[in-house]
Symmetry: none
Subunit: 346 residues, 2 copies
């Protein structure tokens, strides 16, 4: 985040509650970030706001920035992406209005907010902050490998983009519903906006990757859990560096393997076969035991969105018997997911 001050742990924290900005969007799939925030952080969203022409809604109250500020909002979050990940020229007036109403601006887009002259000028004039969540905090230390107190769970994957964030959020919610002291630790831009804090691990300089992961889940009470959003895969030829640094620094006691049974090759790399769940379990234990010798697999999260309910249930049962581990689709929930939660907390 930009212009950080104070303790490093404070720099990882976003101003909340949010006003969700929907731009001039007419296509719901471009508002994924807003829908994710409305689903997972509804208690920290006071409303939504659209520019001229916007037709999508999260179902939250529609509030102008001044009304949102009066209702307690501290930041406007850009909850929409258009192709190319740029700031629409017709969004700028709304963002300036938000700053003049006393809101910071939070963005996960590729383009830096401060690179847009009208926004930079408004930030100087109003004293509000422009916060790019893709920028890691400065001064991340090198990892020291010291074993930290508290319990940690990391979601890992057979590949990218198949449910690691969703699984971590669902486990976090289930732990909390059981009365467990738990924090969700976000490692990507959407997760950071949902959690209101976190480190974009793929944007960290590689020498500090494990150090960033250590910073993300600090010492905690012995019975406290951090549920850490995984990134990439140790089998992904492009992103394994991110995954291994996150694994080493997270020191997980438990990991959950996330897998999509409809995927057979690495996303965008057709010559690389997807690893099996067993291979991921085996290599994660081997690599993860370097910083936590007690690491164990809590079970498997299957993304069965490509299957009907009956086929999904049959596959979940068959995989659980084959692997001898709890297997569940967190979106489908049910007894299988409860068993996965039990196994993680055991």
């Amino acid at each position: 985040m930009n212009a950080p001050t104070g303790r490093l742990s404070d720099r990882l924290t976003l101003p909340q509650p949010y006003l969700l900005f929907l731009g001039d969007t007419t296509e719901p799939s471009y508002a994924k970030t807003a829908f994710g925030l409305a689903d997972w952080a509804a208690d920290r969203c006071v409303g939504e706001y659209g520019a001229e022409g916007c037709t999508v809604t999260t179902g939250l109250p529609r509030l102008a920035p001044a009304a949102a500020r009066a209702a307690g909002a501290r930041a406007l979050v850009i909850g929409v992406a258009n192709q190319g990940g740029v700031i629409g020229a017709n969004w700028v007036a709304a963002l300036v209005e938000a700053m003049e109403a006393g809101l910071d601006i939070v963005s996960g887009l590729h383009v830096r907010l401060g690179s847009i002259p009208a926004l930079a000028a408004a930030a100087r004039r109003t004293g509000q902050r422009l916060i790019d969540v893709r920028s890691p905090p400065p001064d991340i230390p090198v990892a020291n490998g010291r074993k930290r107190s508290g319990k940690r769970l990391l979601t890992v994957g057979t590949d990218c983009a198949l449910g690691k964030k969703y699984t971590a959020l669902a486990l976090h919610r289930a732990f909390a519903e059981r009365g467990v002291a738990v924090d969700f630790r976000a490692t990507g831009q959407t997760g950071i906006m949902i959690a209101g804090a976190g480190i974009p691990m793929d944007a960290v300089v590689s020498d500090f990757e494990a150090g960033a992961a250590e910073l993300l889940s600090p010492d905690a009470a012995a019975d406290h859990w951090d549920v850490i959003e995984g990134q990439g895969s140790i089998f992904n030829p492009a992103y394994a560096a991110v995954s291994l640094g996150l694994l080493h620094g997270s020191q997980p006691d438990v990991f959950v393997v996330c897998h999509d049974p409809s995927r057979t090759v690495i996303l965008g790399m057709e010559s690389f076969a997807l690893p099996s769940v067993e291979e991921v379990i085996d290599l994660t234990i081997r690599l993860g035991s370097r910083t936590n010798p007690a690491i164990r697999c809590g079970g498997v999260s299957l993304n069965t969105s490509s299957l009907g309910a009956g086929a999904a249930e049959a596959l979940i049962g068959a995989e659980s018997r084959r692997l001898g581990l709890p297997v569940a689709d967190p979106i489908r929930g049910g007894a299988a997911f409860a068993a996965l939660v039990d196994a993680c907390l055991a």
Copy 2:
């Protein structure tokens, strides 16, 4: 390098000869940059200079900056690193003295020279340059995993700072002496200063780590070798992300394991045992085969600097018999090293 332009190989022109700066270092392992330059670029080093408290030496004449300038030096090179790559507060006076004597400052540390107010002020006052070698080229692509033509050798290690650069330089020299078409590919600040080109792999954003390694050793003739300087260790809890991204992107046909038999724990992390050579071989093959299924171990490079000649020879022989692989100390050379070169080229 600041404001790089043009081809990778064109991006570095450093002022030479050098005065090597040793800071206040008392631990030789942290002075590997100075030792590397003294050994591989001795004809371009006029001497060395230490701050108060320095106890290590490269063996070059000790010269104050003014005397070094009179002897022809054009730059003081920071030849020492501490954990985290920062500028010691007690180094600043020596660096200012060097600028006032007419020397530019060259640094491969993470911290930018110009971010230190006293150095920035001295640079403005004296007109000398502050040159940060550690800047990766812009616009590094994400790795694509495509197998490239030509042969590649990567040095890997049981830890940091025990001979991976030395071994790569010695193998590069030996390959060239046999008439093999070969390039040394530098991945750290010292190697870049010696080679005049390269990518500082530990300064690359982790999402692009493997992509940077792909860029570093491009397609080449079928019988051409790239000898790639390794970084860190896949067993180092702080730096394994760097090592794995470099391994995946380098796609080595052959790797050589570098090891210091006097070291029992990870440098600066006393609670972490050094892995065995066999563990490094096994895990390097397992991880490296993801992008080059034909990966093999060419042998072992032992850093026997802590041993006398007889003990070193005995250990080299015993380790070679035990492992069933060529083992040599490149600094001692001899028939053992020739056998290691044979095995790598086989």
